[in-house]
């Protein structure tokens, strides 16, 4: 049985303290009574109350969720298509350009992506708002989705699909009944990734949006620039809580699914 050596235990403790302490402090001080954020004046939840009365924040949160749901769904469809093209379509004219356009946005600085999209929207005279943010987010998120999905497709046994075709499935049926269920976990994690990328994005949304739409990160940004505020601490705590709950649930669900699959495989092996 292996144990932690003292050196490894220390470096892990210090490392994780560094990663988590700032957020822990943020959470604790969101319950601070005082308006002066760095001076503790007793426990209170009043900043949460103020947050829920602040319409600007609530509107921004609603816009952000709308944008994230639409863009991540679109990005998942387009990104999955792109992944199938990358892995399955073989050679076609312009393939190099295609894969270049899939990988380039992953390393492109956000300021450049944002600037270029804004100039496009202005160039074709499109009104900027929720719709343009959705277009912008879909474009960069679909690249992340296609990377996630294509890594699963590469290891996928193609003979399963061929068997379905031999047994009389149409290509679309074969995709829906055989391929999709097998790659589903990677499609779902692609969607989740696209969703969080969209929730999180400040720079691209600032460029792509007009006066009619403000997302939550844009709202946080404009108030954070003026300094630390107790309301933002409360909002951050809520966001950290939602993410932590989501990630922990997801990992428990996938762990359960893995054990179930193992059990079924074992049962199938016994039958055979």
């Amino acid at each position: 049985m292996k144990r932690f050596s003292w050196f490894n235990a220390t470096s892990l403790t210090l490392g994780f303290a560094f990663l988590y302490l700032p957020m822990v402090i943020l959470v604790i001080y969101s319950f601070n009574e005082s308006k002066l954020v760095t001076v503790w004046a007793g426990f209170s939840t009043k900043w949460y109350g103020e947050l829920f009365q602040n319409d600007a924040f609530l509107d921004a949160a609603w816009v952000t969720i709308k944008v994230a749901v639409m863009s991540s769904t679109l990005a998942t469809v387009l990104g999955t298509m792109a992944a199938i093209v990358l892995v399955r379509a073989g050679r076609f004219r312009g393939r190099t350009l295609f894969s270049g356009m899939i990988y380039a946005p992953l390393v492109m600085p956000e300021v450049i992506t944002g600037l270029s999209l804004l100039l496009l929207f202005i160039g074709i005279g499109m009104d900027r708002g929720v719709f343009t943010i959705v277009l912008a987010h879909t474009t960069f998120a679909m690249c992340y989705v296609s990377v996630v999905v294509s890594s699963r497709l590469v290891s996928f046994d193609q003979s399963l699909e061929e068997a379905a075709l031999d047994l009389g499935c149409s290509p679309f049926q074969a995709f829906r009944l055989v391929t999709l269920p097998i790659i589903a976990p990677s499609v779902i994690s692609g969607w989740l990734l696209a969703f969080t990328l969209s929730l999180d994005d400040l720079v691209i949304a600032s460029f792509a949006s007009g006066p009619s739409a403000t997302t939550l990160p844009m709202k946080i940004w404009s108030s954070v620039r003026l300094g630390v505020s107790p309301e933002i601490n409360a909002l951050s705590t809520l966001m950290i809580g939602v993410v932590a709950a989501g990630v922990i649930t997801a990992s428990l669900v996938s762990k359960r699914a893995a054990t179930r699959q193992q059990r079924e495989e074992r049962a199938a092996a016994r039958l055979a």
Binding site: I25, V85, P105, P109, V111, L115, V224, V243, V247
Partner: protein, 296 residues
């Protein structure tokens, strides 16, 4: 036919919303600033046919790029971004390596949990993670309160709005990008190699330097690119944690566009930034490919 549709839809999307916008940036970087909407000239006017197109081409020039070399704000900003990105990359290695090492040497049943703990911050808002340091580093912040209460300092340290705060912010937010590839390299390392070295008379220290470090080199290189490339164009961290003296090109581009409303110069800044980034990106891809070949 079906195959054509499958290729055409994502292809058209990327052409329209990735390639074309970039060509527009390139075109505007060759244009002149004008008091108009949109604030640049010339505009492509196809109503006069071919002559209009030729006229349009003849009005484009490299003036904005020459301007970038003449005003020292810009090349100083590029240099200082490169410097900040390089120093933070090194700091991230120094902080990240021991954590990755500790994870790879941890008992088997702990590793999945540790891995999840490293990935979890990825899912939390980047903006909030940067923001959380503002309360810690400010003059009356938690760090100064703590250090003064234990009597290490008598005057508060000024950290927020300096480059030190920018380094802390970058190391903090990009640390998982460094830990994960190093961990992946270290986890594959066969421990019997270390035992063999020790049997042959190596001290543990020299076994570490002669075996562990060279075998984790690929992970360190991959992590360095993953930190260096995005930090070069970083905007949020220098704006929130840095001061007026912190010069980074992402911030310059933003201000050129939103405050000065000089679109042609902002576009030229973007084009040059991209040209600078192409070098590390190509090196990174070569490195990845080499590694894949070595494994395959």
């Amino acid at each position: 036919m079906r195959r054509f549709t499958l290729i055409a839809i994502p292809y058209a999307w990327l052409l329209a919303l990735f390639l074309v916008p970039f060509l527009i940036v390139f075109k505007i970087s060759l244009s002149d600033l004008a008091m108009a909407i949109p604030p640049y000239t010339p505009n492509l006017d196809l109503s006069t046919g071919w002559a209009g197109f030729k006229d349009f081409l003849s009005q484009l020039d490299f003036e904005n790029f020459i301007w970038l070399t003449q005003d020292d704000l810009y090349w100083k900003a590029y240099l200082s971004s490169a410097k900040i990105a390089a120093i933070s990359t090194i700091l991230t290695i120094i902080v990240g390596f021991p954590i990755a090492y500790g994870m790879a040497r941890a008992p088997e049943e702990w590793r999945a949990t540790l891995l999840m703990l490293v990935i979890l911050p990825f899912w939390t808002s980047f903006l909030i993670r940067v923001y959380s340091w503002m309360g810690i580093l400010s003059q009356e912040g938690y760090l100064n309160q703590f250090l003064m209460s234990i009597g290490v300092i008598s005057e508060p340290l000024i950290i927020l709005n300096t480059n030190i705060a920018v380094y802390i912010g970058i190391v903090y937010t990009y640390l998982p990008f460094m830990i994960l590839p190093i961990y992946a390299a270290l986890e594959k390392l066969d421990e019997s190699l270390l035992e063999a070295a020790e049997d042959l008379g190596c001290s543990r220290m020299s076994a570490f330097w002669l075996i562990t470090v060279p075998l984790s080199k690929q992970g360190v290189i991959a992590g360095s690119f993953l930190v260096f490339i995005p930090t070069l164009g970083e905007f949020v961290i220098p704006s929130l944690l840095g001061g007026s003296k912190t010069l980074m090109i992402g911030k310059v581009l933003w201000e050129e566009f939103f405050s000065n409303r000089d679109w042609p110069v902002a576009s030229a800044v973007a084009v040059v930034l991209l040209l600078i980034l192409i070098i590390p990106i190509i090196l990174f891809q070569r490195n990845e490919q080499k590694q894949r070949e070595a494994e395959g």
